[in-house]
């Protein structure tokens, strides 16, 4: 039986997440792994927005921030469990995306970039300025959702890092599954169609504004959940997660790995998350190396790392 590319991708991803710990020399690698998954989740959302629908956002860290602070604030003010708070955060992010998406997505190219950037900046400013509520730039603590304790009582005692590795890994696989489903679905086709030619998509009946908005809302959900996961495992959160630099980082991961493919973008997340850890060898040359890597990949592999590489491999096979 020939497996569909969707199943192959999912199996590869799941196997990678499950088997990688066999090679981990210390539990620090669980931490790096779970960060990769957290970023990978946000980036999967950006694949829907940028890779499928062709829309740029330089403000998605705003949604990451909303998701993160929901987990910090809702338990304190609403008495919710942090996991429920993550769902509330995602709903809030989706709602805000739905509200701001309509006007923002009318813009194109760099104008869309600056408008989304403005949105992200507004969110991070509110988080930094409303110190009474959010603790300001110094940040605030996030309560423990008690999941680990629950597992322990069920007889499965994982270390903190290992637990969050597994938890974010599972969330990522689910996220990737949904995004891959979407790719081959009527909605995914409509998104890719409007990416290819907006005017042609219109003439075959695609409500371009509506579908862009759907992609925007979906990607906001992903970003928000990524923020929640980050807040839950760090147990402490600052407005930096909502900042411009984080938005740029997410877009870079997406495009570097290959915006058109879920697995590619997750690879991008892996590279950009581990790179600073590897580059510590270079000490003060860390930034120089990071800049060089970004430039070289984009110059020589403009479709992103994974699509370019797999094309090369396939090309050799022929």
């Amino acid at each position: 039986m020939r497996l569909s590319s969707k199943t192959t991708t999912l199996l590869a991803l799941a196997a990678l997440i499950a088997l990688a710990p066999l090679f981990f020399p210390s539990s620090y690698y669980f931490r790096v792994g779970s960060l990769i998954f957290v970023n990978g989740l946000a980036v999967t959302g950006l694949v829907v927005l940028t890779g499928y629908a062709g829309q740029i956002s330089l403000g998605h860290a705003g949604f990451v921030g909303i998701g993160a602070y929901a987990c910090a604030l809702a338990p304190v003010h609403l008495g919710l469990n942090p996991i429920a708070a993550a769902v509330v955060g995602a709903a809030l992010s989706g709602g805000i995306a739905w509200l701001v998406g309509r006007p923002i997505l009318r813009l194109k190219g760099y104008y869309l970039a600056v408008a989304s950037l403005g949105f992200g900046a507004l969110v991070s400013m509110v988080l930094a300025n409303e110190a009474q509520v959010t603790g300001g730039p110094d940040g605030m603590t996030v309560p423990d959702p008690g999941l680990r304790a629950l597992l322990k009582s069920a007889g499965l005692d994982l270390s903190n890092s290992a637990f969050w590795y597994a938890f974010s890994g599972i969330v990522l696989v689910i996220g990737a599954w949904l995004a891959l489903n979407l790719y081959h679905s009527p909605t995914g086709r409509a998104l890719r169609a409007l990416h290819g030619s907006e005017v042609a998509a219109r003439t075959v009946g695609v409500d371009v504004a509506g579908f862009k908005l759907r992609a925007f809302v979906i990607s906001a959900f992903y970003a928000s959940l990524s923020g929640s996961l980050l807040a839950l495992q760090n147990k402490f959160i600052t407005p930096d997660v909502a900042g411009y630099m984080h938005s740029i980082e997410l877009v870079t991961m997406t495009v570097l790995g290959g915006a058109g493919s879920v697995l590619g973008a997750i690879c991008g997340a892996m590279i950009l998350t581990t790179l600073p850890q590897v580059l510590t060898v270079f000490q003060e040359y860390e930034q120089v190396m990071l800049g060089l890597v970004m430039m070289l990949v984009m110059i020589f592999m403009r479709d992103g790392l994974l699509p370019s590489l797999s094309r090369k491999i396939r090309g050799r096979g022929k």
Partner: protein, 261 residues
């Protein structure tokens, strides 16, 4: 009653009169061609009828309903479909997916069902795929279905666009130079395809430079020059009209003015 009715349609671009006061109508199963020298305003007229541009003057009626300035995707729901002079293919998608994309209105459903890949979503997609395969066979692209659209020849892309437009099961079909860039054999195939579609009762509005083809298949011809209708009628009548001959043969220098129709 005519299916598509154009009444005094007009638009200006930066003070320049692009199309002015053009009227005609189109009935089910009819093939009407719009001809005229380059820069006469043919594509602009198409863009207004199909909702890409919002007309400044006049009305467009579809089966009696006023649809002037309505967004293209809403026109598509009402059964108006089109192709483009300079191809608007979804380059990064396969040939088959392009044809499926044409079934958007039939296959779309709740986004949640698509995310979860529910049976309802898969069924919709499968139906669209089956219909798309049939359409590709009809335009002779059945074998190319797995190829990336960007890799097809120009003529094949023209046919793919027609297949995509037909996927909507339109009542009115606007074809903008469907035979441009095609060789004689391909032109003949397209010729036959158009006639077939019209025979099924679809009203076809055609912009075409291949005069032989136009004369052969049109029921009715509308001639534009400088954005205005200068003649209208049966092919035989129009081809003898001195104003038409002047527009075409006289000041041919004007053709360099604008590459677009």
């Amino acid at each position: 009653m005519s299916l598509l009715q154009i009444e005094g349609l007009g638009i200006d671009f930066g003070g320049l009169r692009a199309v002015h006061d053009v009227s005609f109508s189109l009935g089910a199963g009819e093939i009407v061609s719009v001809i005229g020298p380059n820069g006469a305003g043919k594509t602009t007229l198409f863009n207004m009828i199909s909702g890409v541009y919002r007309p400044e003057h006049g009305r467009v009626r579809l089966a009696g309903e006023d649809v002037t300035g309505i967004e293209p995707h809403l026109l598509a729901r009402r059964g108006l479909s089109r192709t483009f002079q300079n191809l608007q293919i979804f380059q990064a998608m396969t040939v088959l997916e392009n044809a499926i994309a044409g079934h958007h209105l039939h296959e779309k459903g709740p986004v949640l069902a698509d995310l979860l890949s529910l049976p309802s979503s898969r069924r919709r997609a499968a139906e669209a795929e089956a219909s798309a395969r049939m359409l590709l066979d009809r335009v002779g692209l059945g074998r190319a279905e797995a190829q990336e659209a960007g890799s097809l020849s120009y003529g094949a892309l023209k046919r793919l666009e027609i297949a995509r437009a037909l996927a909507l099961k339109p009542r009115v079909l606007l074809l903008d130079e469907p035979a441009a860039g095609c060789n004689a054999v391909e032109t003949e195939e397209i010729d036959r395809l158009i006639a077939e579609v019209a025979a099924e009762g679809v009203a076809i509005l055609l912009v075409e430079h291949d005069m032989k083809m136009v004369m052969r298949i049109s029921n009715h011809i509308v001639v534009l020059d400088h954005g205005e209708k200068i003649a209208e009628g049966a092919p035989a009548k129009v081809s003898r009209d001195p104003r038409v001959i002047e527009a075409y043969l006289g000041p041919q220098v004007r053709e360099t003015a604008d590459a677009h129709g």
